[in-house]
Amino acid sequence: MASKFGLAGGIPERRVRPIWDAVDSRQYKAALKLCTALLAKHPTSPYVLALKGLILERMGKPDEALSVCLNAKELLYSDNIFHFDDLTLSTLQIVFQRLERLDLATSCYEYACTKYPNNLELMMGLFNCYVREYSYVKQQQTAIKMYKTVGEERFLLWAVCSIQLQVHFSSGGEKLLPLAEALLKKHISSHSLHEPEALALYISILEQQSKYDAALEVLSGDLGSLMGRVEDKLRLQGRLLAQACNYAAASEIYQKILESCPDDWESFLHYLGCLLEHDVNVPKSRTSEHTLLSVDSALALKTSLSEELVESRLSSALSFVQKLQGNDTSECVRGPHLANIEIERQRRLSANPTDRKFIEALVNYFHRFGHLSCAASDVEIYLHMLSSDEITELLDTISRSFDASSFSVKGLGLAITIFKVQELLGIFFSKSTTELQRIAKVMVETFYKNLPLSRDLDPQESMHGEELLCMASSILVQLFWRTRNLGYLTEAILVLEFGLTVRKYVWQYKVILVHLYSYLGALPLAYRWYVTLEVKNILLESASHHILPQMLNSPLLQQTADLVKDYLKFMDDHLKESADLTCLAYRHRTYSKVIEFVQFKERLQHSMQYLSVRSDSIILSLKQKAESLEEVESILENVNHGARLVELSNEDNMKHFTFNEDLQARPWWTPTTSVNFLSEPFHEGSQPACFRAKVCEHKSTEKDDPKIKDSERKSLLPRLVYLSMHGCAFSLREAEPNGSGLGTDAAEMKPLLEKYSRSIGYSIDDALSVILGMSSGKKSVKDFAPDIVSWMSFAVFINAWNLWSNELVIPRADQSSPSSWQIVDNLVKICIEEQLIDANQILTSPGNNIPVLVQMITEPMSWHLVVIQSCVRSMAPQGKKKKKGGPSERPNIPRLQAIQRSVQCMIDTLRSVQSWLSDQMRPEEQALDILLSYLHGASEDGPGQISCILEENSARHNPELGERIAQSLETWSSAGVVRRIVGAEQELLVELKKICDSKLKLLGSESASLSSALH
């Protein structure tokens, strides 16, 4: 910026520079001092004022900053201003942007541009303002103006880009495409084009209007030479030809691409598609959020050609591909060999379903590349097309092709691939438990036996055979699912912990452990491993799902709050800076990225997770502070009482939700955050294919209702809590009908509660009868189990509403019908008791109900406590707030009694939780013995064998392992791992106990105040 200082609003550079230096080195106090001194000399300099605003903003004084900048703005607008430069404006812009007042920055630039209509620098500033505000039409107009002023190519393309953005994001925008085309044509005829990105934009304008021939003509003309790489040009040509249905020419082009890039799989699929004249629908899903292999979509494409023609085209493709195979000397190019399989698949589809060549091609592929880690996943979609006989044949053939007893990296790779194929096909599900045990054992032994292959590797490098432990662990989890024997689950953990003892960097192990520990109820351990994954920046959006849902239902409130805070900070910051990056793309003339960046911003902004976590974050703070009404009030005040969240969850927003989680690395038994197969019974004899279909179904219904409804419900919660406590404050004073603003609040509560009940799937009336039924014992709580926490919260809010609504909320048949307080009391009592009765020993029952219990105590109970506190406070003397001569305040005795009963009920319930928790806590050694006993079962068949192998291997001194691996193995101890599990489970119980303690303390004091009020 130094060069600009000379122009700084007429202020000499030497006076300004020290201020900027101080700002840059974060010496804000010093900067302010200098700036104030300068301001004394130039009291009406907008630039110095803007600088002061900037400093104040950095010092964390947004209000002062805004007022100083508004002052500067006013001076700019006054007629006698002498200096009017971009530096002043851009400084103001920075401050306004940080204060989230883009509109003010824009209006400054708008004013400046009217005053100095032909100043390019100011117009560029204005253009950037519109980019930051996502005002595409104004962007377009400003760019056109700049183009008309100086005639530069880039400004025209800025305008065309702005049109493209309208096409993508406003309805009817496509009507502007011909305009964009005409503008470009006119410019090209006189000036041509000079940037590859400009050409790409021009082509895409034509392509969007289906003017493929015109696009091709442009590409083959002079402009075509702008494309830097030949392959890129050919790919574009191929695509355009295919879209124009000129398949013959397109396939020739793709052939050329493959000759120079034989491994380009996408081009091969296009090539084949063009030969068969059904083109470009490649079996893949780049645009979809979750990558999901779908065999159906790969199979769906049928050609309209005759059988003979298909055959002859496929033959020519085959000989082309074989030629490519022959050209390859590196042994690394898999494309042409995979192409062979695809061609045979097409053949099988068109004519000969039993043709042997398909399986032969697969066998060949495995012979050549079977040792590679990705061999099985490469051909996954093809494997699913094999009959079970063919699968057996395939596995036999590959197994025979190598000597399993010899040690080599290749041999190990092949052995792993065979296991992987079986895993992918779900074959393990049809094996007996004995057989599965044997396989898991073989996997672990193979891992250990092959360790010497990795002895000379750098510790940073992944070792040979690491996948084996993942697979072994996965089989052990399956054994647990089938037998419910805890020993297997423990061994599944041990295997991975063993792997991490050998090499501490394997993230795949860590991810599975995060899920296993979560399921087991040892969440603190899950969290510790998760932290070592160093999930940050964009990974927070794609990988938080591994831990966040479990943490949100746990008593680890502080750690959860940290996770939530990091995530929101990342998302908020990025959404704020995203438009600046779009400006950068404009400035560097990377037009394709302009569009992409805006699309990506939209995608993140509509992230389902983002909306959910925003609610979670508030709910979490409320949970943490529920015992202090003042803190609850201040939390709610900071989020405009939950109103903004309610707005965000409107239906229009929800239609555009995006799901950005990368689910690929999740273990098979929990394919999405809302599904855990281990919580369901295992069905003997379930077919592998059924299981796979189930997983696919879960992944594809990830976007469906329950999750969205859940998120919607969460977004209503803070507002409902606010309204509940707000209403209660007035409810105890009888003589205050329609107290200040109460009527409108009551009116707001009803639609919110209606929305809330709808999100559980009921109308408000039906929902009322459900809670009435449950609280009176007429309806079984179990029938409503999945949403039970929401039902409890609903009852709490109904009670709050009932306190101050003029409507009769709950129809009461007679005096003996329960009051709304009793409904809440009974429901809380029944639901929690049910959990306590059902709960087995936590230590030995994974998937236990601690999370539900935690939720019941930290959510509905907390909300109810807030209501109680509100009521109690409002009956206390009002102090200064008391209006002179206002209506006398007599306490509403029956209501106070109801509250006191409710307080007592909460106390009793929490005490029963406390005593249950105490029962669960046992001496560490005793707990350790219990868990270890699962591993030392008497039967030869049961768990324990694999932990034995691990112990033996680590104890044995094997010189072949090399010093590093041998040393790391010395530290291994199964008992150590189990001890940590025990410790983590206890930690969780202690945290829950603390929460109960603090609630009990509050209830005790409320009870005392109520007693004194009543007597």
Partner: protein, 174 residues
């Protein structure tokens, strides 16, 4: 079989299997997006037939006169797709673009002095250690500045090793 194409924003949401690796840094968003906006030809993703991100390379071109060069900022391959020369393919692509499109004189990169596997790989690809940068990584570990000359640098002047190690503040570029 790999489709190598320009890296796009959506890839950021799918590259966790590459970036969860402890040696691969996950940068902030403006870092990635600045590379995409300024040097789109230097940022490529390799994609598998199942449309998974196998790995990626990001880099830039900078410098003046005879020090006009391509720079590899990061290259990373998911463990499932290692040992099939994918990193080499990505490096070659960046070299080709530096050489043919941008007429750069050399390509350079920085690597932790302790990261022997990576150093060996770069050596195999024709890179030589040009100089050592003392305490380059977080003020602790030394970095090696490795270079490979391109066709513009006919006499291969750019890769004659410096005798003396330098400190980070002596570096010409960030």
């Amino acid at each position: 079989m790999t489709t190598i194409r320009r890296f796009c924003c959506d890839d950021l949401l799918r590259f966790s299997s590459v970036n969860l690796d402890h040696l691969t840094e996950t940068f902030n968003m403006s870092f990635y997006m600045t590379y995409m906006a300024r040097w789109p030809d230097y940022f490529h993703a390799a994609v598998s037939p199942g449309d998974r991100v196998m790995g990626y390379i990001m880099g830039k071109v900078e410098g003046q006169g005879e020090s006009w060069h391509g720079h590899v900022t990061a290259v990373s391959v998911a463990s499932e797709f290692r040992r099939q020369k994918l990193a080499k393919k990505l490096m070659n692509l960046l070299e080709e673009i530096s050489d043919k499109m941008d007429k750069a004189y050399f390509v350079d990169l920085f690597v932790r002095a302790s990261n022997m596997p990576a150093i060996r790989m770069y050596e195999k690809l024709g890179y030589v250690v040009y100089r050592r940068v003392l305490r380059y990584y977080s003020g602790e570990e030394d970095g090696l500045d490795m270079r490979k000359a391109l066709s513009q640098d006919v006499e291969k002047k750019s890769i004659i090793p410096l005798k003396r190690p330098i400190t980070p503040d002596e570096l010409e570029y960030d």
